[in-house]
Every structure is written in structure tokens, then in C-alpha cells.
């Protein structure tokens, strides 16, 4: 009974702190653990501030907020089959589909993560940095390196996300 289940089968932990829920859109079958989603500022054109796809998991301690610039708040999109580890701080403009974000990662303001990427735990992706598709971002001392990710991970990450959400 720790979770609230919505009509679209999203499960949201009762301990989550969600600000501006009317500005958040979650597709379905997504698991939101005890985390913070801050969407209290609306986008002027009325579109949702934060959009999250299906079969995603936001781990415990995740802080998700939209990117901010001098012109105000911009929308933030998270694709489907995205696994975000515990204690991540995310201010990306976009995270594609089939992405695994390791524990403790920090995604800077306005960064973009394309489809089918794996980010090692503890990474700090600077603001406005773009990670191309099929990338494995490895921690390299204080910095990071981007390596090619095998194409088979497209289906593997999707299956992993589905399994983790359901069982």
C-alpha cells in the first residue's frame, strides 16, 4: 500500500514529492519511487513541463526538474524504457528511449541523452552536453569517455525495463 496506482498503471510511491502535477505527463506502466519531480513552473504554450514515457523507473532519491535558461523554463522529455538509478539529479532537456542512467549521476542543465545509451554510476554530464545514440558513457577519473554501445542493447534494455517494472 506504499504506492498509488493510476488508471494507466503508473505506480507512484506515496513518499514522492511532486510539484505541479498538472504539468507532468506520464504515459503508463511507469514506476516512480520516493523521488522529487519539480514541474511547478508551466510552459507558456500550455504543453506539459515534464513528459515521461512508458515502462520507466525513477529510483529512490532522484531529483527531476526541467532545464532553465535566461528565457525561462523549457520542457523536459524522458522517453520510454528508461531506468534512472537512485539519487540522480536530472535537469536534462531530453532523455531518449532505452536509456540506463546509473546511480548518483548528475545530468546538467539542458543536456541531451539520445536513444539506447548507458551511463555509468557517478557520472557528471555537463550542461548542454549531447550524448549520441548507442553510447556507453564511462567514468574516467573526474571526467568521462564515450564509447560505442553494441546494437543488441536496444532490445535488451527494453526487456530489462519491462521486467523490472512488472516483476
Amino acid at each position: 500500500m506504499d504506492y498509488i496506482t493510476t488508471q494507466s498503471n503508473n505506480r507512484i510511491h506515496r513518499g514522492s514529492r511532486i510539484k505541479g502535477s498538472s504539468n507532468i505527463q506520464i504515459q503508463g506502466n511507469t514506476l516512480v519511487e520516493e523521488c522529487v519531480i519539480d514541474a511547478h513552473e508551466a510552459i507558456p504554450d500550455g504543453s506539459p513541463t515534464i513528459v515521461i514515457g512508458k515502462y520507466c523507473i525513477l529510483g529512490r532519491g532522484v531529483e527531476l526538474k526541467p532545464p532553465v535558461s535566461t528565457s525561462g523554463v523549457h520542457p523536459s522529455a524522458v522517453g520510454s524504457y528508461v531506468l534512472i538509478g537512485e539519487n540522480c539529479k536530472i535537469a536534462s532537456a531530453a532523455i531518449g528511449s532505452r536509456v540506463i542512467v546509473g546511480e548518483g549521476c548528475v545530468l546538467g542543465n539542458g543536456s541531451i541523452i539520445h536513444d539506447c545509451c548507458i551511463l555509468d554510476p557517478g557520472l557528471v554530464v555537463p550542461g548542454k552536453y549531447v550524448v549520441p545514440p548507442f553510447s556507453h558513457v564511462l567514468k574516467w577519473g573526474d571526467a568521462f569517455k564515450v564509447r560505442h554501445l553494441n546494437e543488441s542493447h536496444k532490445l535488451r534494455i527494453e526487456l530489462l525495463a519491462r521486467r523490472r517494472v512488472i516483476a
Binding site: P126, P132, E151, I166
Partner: protein, 455 residues
């Protein structure tokens, strides 16, 4: 990585006369560079064999800048974005560049200067006033070359001086007049007195360090690539990208090993997989899961004993030391059938049924429901913690998976040895992929990495 697959591409080529039956294992199976995760391998349907990164050839289909989406010619030898995409040398964050026009004044020409600033770490760089209109990339290249040239010139002078001093001290071909101005008066006096080892040391300044030079300038953003792969042996396509868009994740053709070979996982019947101890008997389970839409007949075999000749066991402290018979393996069930993967395998009910019973826990409703639905016989065998070696069928079976027992008896071993067990898996199928691809069986070696053995 508990389970990896062996790629035989590094095996030495031998003639038919040299083939010896003394080798029970491939010669290079002990080399960890030949071990690959299933997700990193391809499968060539023409050769009916695994292909790793060494035996597949990459072909660059797209070369592009992920930041500005500039598309470069994949055949050009260029690795950085030709446009104004620069990274901070300290934190790799994108840099913003602002230009400032300078009006002509006394002693200063008319021109423009550019200030790079990093929004992440407050690093800045000023190009200084440029009088000629040039691309930013060329300005930075010239400035970097000037600093590198200066460093090289100083090093060259230093070694030329050292050579002259050596010549002065030994053969006097170089006179003291040649050294005046190049060494200090004290050093010259010592040299005149004939004291050896008076070479002046190269004294680098703060700006001379090569790393410092590298960290002084904005870095051009490296280009990203999208790659197709072909089999080196038969030149057939392994991965062919969809050429509509370089950011697309669709493929025209993909033949990865994880779509063909059964996925192998190891579990312990009771307790965690680590903490294997010497002089112990360990009951393990190996699970095979079929990812294809037709059934597979699997034959599994392994060695009864692992000895030093085969080197499948690594001793981190004393490599190459003879160990003798130290591990005994018993595989009661060596032949079984894997059913086809359900058509709609992404449906929740089919997904849960695709998880082996031993991997199900009580933490979600779906897994609890599935455990209740499992047959009591298989649950009993899994929870007993012991293996019945007289039983030659799997411990548990599902729609497209099977769990077989593996008994590992560890003898007197030294502490710290890493235990890696080889299994040879043969896959038979009657399904024909296409008329040009007959149903030929294939085999591969799987390496089960059980970690170091504790005392």
C-alpha cells in the same frame, strides 16, 4: 561478468597433421581477451559462428557532430567538428564564444577578439585581437601550434647545448667561447675547471608542460560515428544501419548473438553465488533461455576435472604453476529442449513466465502470483539446496527456458584463485531460416566466472 562466451578467432591456425587430441580445450580459452559478453557479440548466419569485435569489420556509415548535427563525409580523415563546436578542456562542457570588436587606437590595430567561457566550471579563454578574418578553429590551431613550437624549440636548444658541453669536456672541439651566453657564468666556470656532470638541467617554466598546453586551449568537439559491421570471413552483413537518419535507432539488418544464442545465467541453489570456498561442494544452477521463435535442442558438456594443462583456472599470484586436479564438475543433465519464445513475449504475463523460477523473488505481485502457479515439484527441487545426480532432466522448465544443475566440488586450492568453468554448448534446430541458410547445428564455449575462491 558471470557468464562470457569464448570467441575462437585468436586460435592459432594448424594443419590437419598438427591437430592433436591432447588438447581438451581451445588453446586461447584462458586468455580473457577472448571472453566476451553475449551482448557484445554478433552471429554470422552464413558462417554459423560467433563474431566478436576482432573478427567483424566496422564500416563507418555516418560521421556527424552530435551537437550541431553537422554531417561529415564518412570517408574523410577528420575526427573533430569543422564548425564552431568547442569543449572546455577541464570539464568537457560546451563552450560559448562571444566576439568583441576593437576600434583602432594608438599601438593597437583594429580587430576582433573572442572570449570562450564555460558555463560549468568558469574556465575562460581569450584569443586576443585578431586583425584578419579567419575561422575560430584556424585561430586556435595557430595559437596552439605557436605554443607547441616554442616548447619544441626550447627542448631542441637544450639538447644541442648538452651535446656541445659533452664535446667540450671530452674532445675540446667546442670552445668556451661557443658556450658563452648559453650557460650561466657559474656553470661555465665549473666546466672550465673540468668538473663533469655540469650539464645545465632543462628548467621548464609553467607554460612548458605539454599537458598544460593541452589544457590551455578550447578543444574541438569530436565527431560521433554510426557503424555497420560485416563478417571478416564471408563479408556478409552483421549489422546494417537504416540510412534514413543518422540519429535513427532502426536497422535494416541486425544479427546479434543475443538474438540467436540462448542466454546463460548461473545461480546458486542456496545462498549467494560468491563466497565459494575450498574443500567444499557447491550446488549451482545454470539457466538457458531461448530468444528465438522456434525450439532448440541443447547439448551441454564440460570436463570432469579441471587440471593445470588446460589452464582454465587462473592463479593471480602464481600464473603457470601446476595445480593438479583441483575442481570436479558433475553435470547430471546434458541434453534438453528449449521451447520457442512466445509470440507476444513483451506482454506482462509472458514476460513473467520468461523469468526462471530461481530468479523470481517475493517483491512484486506478479512474481508472487507466478510462484504460486509453479508446480510444487520443481519448487521443491529448487528449495532443497541439493542436487540429485541420478536425475538427468532439468531441475525446472518454462516456456522457453530450462534450469539444469551443476555440481562443483572444489579441492585443495590456494587462496585467491579465480574459478572459471568452461561449458561447451551445442545447439541443434530443425528450423531453416531461409533456403540459403540450412539448419546446421553450431556450438560455442561459455565461461562461467565464479570469482575468487576464499579459504
Amino acid at each position: 561478468m558471470p557468464v562470457s562466451l569464448f570467441c575462437p578467432c585468436s586460435e592459432p591456425m594448424v594443419s590437419s597433421e598438427d591437430i592433436s587430441m591432447d588438447y581438451k580445450l581451445p588453446r586461447t580459452i584462458g586468455d580473457t581477451n577472448t571472453h566476451h559478453a553475449l551482448s557484445d557479440l554478433y552471429f554470422c548466419n552464413d558462417c554459423r559462428a560467433l563474431r566478436c569485435r576482432k573478427c567483424s569489420e566496422p564500416q563507418i556509415e555516418f560521421k556527424f557532430c552530435a551537437r550541431c548535427r553537422h554531417k561529415a563525409d564518412p570517408h574523410e580523415i577528420t575526427r573533430v567538428c569543422p564548425k564552431n563546436c568547442f569543449d572546455c578542456p577541464k570539464c568537457a562542457a560546451p563552450l560559448s564564444a562571444k566576439s568583441q570588436t576593437h576600434a583602432p587606437a594608438e599601438g593597437r590595430p583594429k580587430g576582433k577578439s573572442f572570449l570562450f567561457s564555460c558555463g560549468n566550471c568558469d574556465w575562460t579563454y581569450d584569443t586576443g585581437v585578431e586583425t584578419r578574418p579567419r575561422p575560430l578553429k584556424v585561430i586556435l590551431q595557430d595559437q596552439r601550434a605557436d605554443m607547441n613550437t616554442e616548447l619544441f624549440d626550447r627542448l631542441r636548444e637544450h639538447y644541442a647545448l648538452e651535446k656541445d658541453i659533452r664535446s667540450f669536456l671530452s674532445s675540446r672541439k667546442v670552445t668556451s667561447d661557443d658556450l658563452v651566453g648559453r650557460v650561466t657564468p657559474d656553470q661555465l666556470a665549473r666546466l672550465m675547471a673540468g668538473k663533469r656532470n655540469s650539464y645545465p638541467d632543462f628548467e621548464p617554466t609553467d607554460s612548458d608542460s605539454y599537458c598544460k598546453v593541452q589544457s590551455e586551449f578550447p578543444e574541438s568537439h569530436p565527431l560521433s560515428t554510426r557503424i555497420s559491421h560485416i563478417c571478416k570471413a564471408c563479408r556478409g552483413d552483421l549489422v546494417k544501419l537504416d540510412r534514413s537518419d543518422f540519429l535513427s535507432t532502426k536497422f535494416y539488418k541486425i544479427s546479434s548473438a543475443s538474438d540467436v544464442l540462448p542466454e546463460i545465467e548461473i545461480f546458486r541453489l542456496s545462498g549467494k553465488l560468491d563466497n565459494l570456498r575450498r574443500n567444499s561442494t557447491n550446488n549451482l544452477c545454470v539457466n538457458f533461455a531461448n530468444s528465438q521463435s522456434f525450439s532448440l535442442e541443447i547439448n551441454v558438456s564440460t570436463l570432469t576435472y579441471l587440471s593445470s594443462d588446460l589452464d582454465p583456472v587462473e592463479d593471480s599470484a602464481n600464473p603457470g604453476v601446476e595445480h593438479g586436479h583441483m575442481v570436479k564438475l558433475t553435470l547430471p543433465c546434458q541434453r534438453f529442449t528449449l521451447g520457442p519464445r512466445p509470440d507476444k513475449f513483451t506482454r506482462p504475463e509472458n514476460l513473467v513466465q520468461g523469468i526462471p523460477t530461481i530468479a523470481l523473488d517475493q517483491e512484486s505481485k506478479a512474481s508472487r502470483v507466478e510462484l504460486i502457479a509453479k508446480r510444487s515439484a520443481s519448487l521443491g527441487r529448487l528449495s532443497s539446496g541439493k542436487i540429485d545426480t541420478t536425475r538427468d532432466c532439468p531441475l525446472d522448465e518454462g516456456a522457453n527456458w530450462a534450469t539444469i544443475p551443476l555440481l562443483v566440488e572444489i579441492g585443495e586450492v590456494e587462496e585467491g584463485i579465480r574459478l572459471r568453468l568452461p561449458l561447451f554448448v551445442t545447439v541443434h534446430t530443425t528450423h531453416q531460416i531461409s533456403p540459403s541458410h540450412p539448419a546446421v547445428p553450431y556450438g560455442f564455449w561459455a565461461i562461467l566466472d565464479l570469482g575468487p575462491i576464499a579459504v
